[in-house]
Subunit: 193 residues, 2 copies
């Protein structure tokens, strides 16, 4: 499995659908790093073009990977070691291309239903299982900007709970998406394999 995830802080929407650069959130970094470690993700890219925000992310990483935090909680160290900080998706794609010897498929996530077709979880699983390098992009704030989403290779189906409410946090949305794509359900594997 050659699966990567990215958390984008620009370009994303604010509440009024204006394009902004959002702030780094400590909880997002921890929760997504722990998810990445749980689900065998190769690297978790924290993406922001703002230098001061990159520095903030670096300070958090340093604390947990080599500073006091690394001794205080080695499980966090293990998770946060998967984080890399980057300025843009283009930079991330270049880096993964070098690591994997080919460009990754970029799958954008969006809570809104797409007017044109979006990728089913089943198809996404096929792509991942085929061994291709795949990068799944999650948006902070009110989500990934539309133009950014449309430039991705695929847009994943939105999560449907069992209501029409579609306002999950990026932390819980990423958890559900990763579990759907690469999680193990003990009872299902017995039945289906």
């Amino acid at each position: 499995m050659r699966l990567y995830i990215g958390l984008l802080h620009y370009p994303v929407y604010n509440k009024n659908y204006q394009t902004i650069a959002s702030a780094i959130t400590n909880t997002d970094l921890h929760d997504l790093a722990r998810l990445a470690r749980t689900f065998g993700i190769k690297r978790f890219y924290v993406i922001t073009p703002l230098r001061d925000q990159q520095e903030l992310a670096e300070r958090i990483l340093k604390h947990w990977t080599t500073g006091y935090g690394a001794k205080y909680n080695e499980h966090r160290k293990e998770a946060l070691s998967l984080i890399a900080i980057s300025s843009s998706l283009e930079e991330v794609v270049r880096e993964i291309s070098e690591l994997e010897g080919r460009k990754p498929f970029v799958i954008a996530t969006d809570a809104r239903k797409q007017k044109t077709g979006s990728l089913t979880y089943e198809k996404a699983i096929e792509i991942i299982d085929s061994g291709k390098a795949v990068m799944i992009m999650f948006g902070t704030a009110w989500g990934l900007e539309k133009d950014f989403v449309n430039k991705a290779d695929f847009i994943l189906d939105p999560i449907e709970g069992n209501t029409n409410y579609n306002h999950l946090s990026v932390r819980t949305a990423a958890a559900i998406i990763l579990d759907r794509l690469v999680g193990r359900y003990p009872q299902r594997s017995q039945e289906e394999l």
Copy 2:
């Protein structure tokens, strides 16, 4: 569906497996309330015996359900309106029993594998789909205390990602568990129905 969730702040473990009462966390309340609203949960109980912590939770709720937050973001109002604050699981069970006319089944969650049998997701889905009132308990900090877990009617299978790392946040663990138990997967329903 008569599904309830609870977030327990006592008795839970700290890092050294001592029993503690953990602090109310703003992010936990928001993330789990949004999950509850997404997945059609009837009520989300925030459980702590500490009066000052109950007051803190009440202040957060008031801000988002009747204060400035309710106007600022009506989606949050909708989610946080599902929260009820309670002192203990016993109190919650009494309240649900009154609402539903019978005692709920209590399902505890635990990241650790149980020595005795635990409940598969498949069996849990059967219980929920049968229309019985069910209460799923999530633990803060390092998880629900063992004696508390053993008093529940069932203990749910731990989440397995695809590694042996089992240190998710309660926010992301709750997301995965609710999606596994009551989420809709568009592609699966087409195939299986």
